[in-house]
């Protein structure tokens, strides 16, 4: 069973966002995503100060068996990337909500955060996905 922390918001692309005290958003991928990806071996993250658009690709994550896009949960500017995780992508698997965070965004519109899925909605989303998978 994948972990879904209660203090975060989520996207349909299985990313999480945490609202920090300064209004910025820390972004990562969820426990479910890291389980699906398997061992992550490479992270392609955007440059600091680059502008990203909500819902658009901002990087890539390569695991032993797939390459998947990373998406910007909201529109904003990249203010920090997790260099340690980029150097040691295994952190994403080991601690997706902690040491495996990916980047920090300064959102253009703080209200966008409220539009992301709540933990309850994301848990429901995961259950629906599991149900669809079983039907196939």
């Amino acid at each position: 069973m994948s972990t879904v922390p209660q203090d975060l918001r989520y996207t349909r692309e299985h990313e999480w966002a945490r609202l920090e005290d300064d209004g910025r958003l820390t972004i990562g991928v969820t426990d479910f995503a890291q389980e699906q990806l398997g061992d992550v071996v490479f992270l392609d993250l955007p440059e600091v100060d680059s502008a990203v658009e909500g819902g658009e690709p901002l990087g890539e994550v390569e695991s032993t068996k797939s390459v998947s896009d990373l998406y910007a949960p909201v529109t904003g500017t990249v203010v920090e990337i997790n260099v340690e995780c980029k150097d040691n992508p295994a952190a994403l698997n080991q601690d997706p909500y902690g040491e495996g965070w990916l980047l920090v965004l300064d959102p253009s519109d703080p209200a966008e955060f409220d539009g992301l899925m709540t933990p309850e909605e994301y848990s429901q989303f995961l259950e629906e996905q599991a149900g669809e998978g079983e039907e196939g």
């Binding site: 398997g38 061992d39 992550v40 390569e62 896009d69 698997n93 080991q94 196939g136």
Partner: protein, 226 residues
């Protein structure tokens, strides 16, 4: 890759399976895999072009293999689920040749291992088996890789027809144990046309009988490129 890009741009909503050969020896490397100058020089000396895949993973020597690729919507399928869907077609196809292939659960790779060529066995796709690969007994018969973008997946993989491990070792300079096999060992005398035809039938049989399969639309667009 063009099919994949077209699908994403919605110029084409078709999903397609392709099965194809390579003109001659070529080394494909993962999208983020570093190719050392030494390896590049060795390949140049041997007349083996190096091509970069859009997918991840490690180096694969082509030329005496058959390659498949699938472009399809992945829907809600996760990475391993999609692998499983594709694997069913491959397993059926190989079964038609009397080859009992299973989804591999062999030695797992280790997170955080630098993807650099050459490093040893892990630099070569057929030097290691992960959960999404196909094996016969304990030997790997098909290695695959997947790219997921905007709801679509491109998955491709290589099935060795003949034993290319000597050349692979010469190019990648790894000395790991032989963990792979090939069609020639499993069913001597099998031609690439025969394997190709069986794989097409395998995909048809697998997906055609499924009660609800995300990739079933592939059936109407099956291509066999030889």
């Amino acid at each position: 890759m063009a099919l994949f890009e077209n699908a994403i741009r919605k110029e084409s909503l078709r999903s397609v399976v392709r099965i194809y050969r390579w003109d001659g020896p070529a080394l494909s490397v993962g999208t983020h895999q570093r190719v050392s100058e030494e390896l590049a020089a060795r390949c140049a000396r041997l007349g083996v072009p190096v091509v970069r895949r859009c997918t991840g993973g490690s180096a694969v020597l082509h030329g005496r293999d058959l390659t498949y690729s699938v472009v399809a919507r992945h829907g809600t399928r996760g990475v391993l689920e999609a692998y499983s869907e594709v694997a069913r077609g491959l397993i059926w196809g190989l079964a038609l040749l009397g080859i009992d292939a299973r989804v591999g659960m062999g030695s797992q790779s280790t997170a955080g291992t630098p993807v650099t060529v050459p490093l040893g066995a892990r630099s070569a796709c057929f030097g290691t088996t992960v959960g999404a690969d196909l094996r016969v007994g304990s030997a790997k018969i098909c290695g695959s890789a997947q790219l997921r973008r905007r709801g679509w997946l491109l998955q491709h993989g290589s099935i060795p027809l003949a034993d290319d491990r000597a050349l692979t070792r010469r190019i990648l300079r790894h000395s790991g144990p032989n963990t792979s096999t090939c069609i020639e060992h499993l069913r001597p005398g099998t031609s690439d046309a025969e394997l190709s035809a069986c794989l097409v039938l395998g995909f048809e049989r697998s997906w055609g009988s499924a009660r609800e399969v995300a990739l079933e639309e592939l059936l109407t667009n099956l291509e066999c490129v030889e």
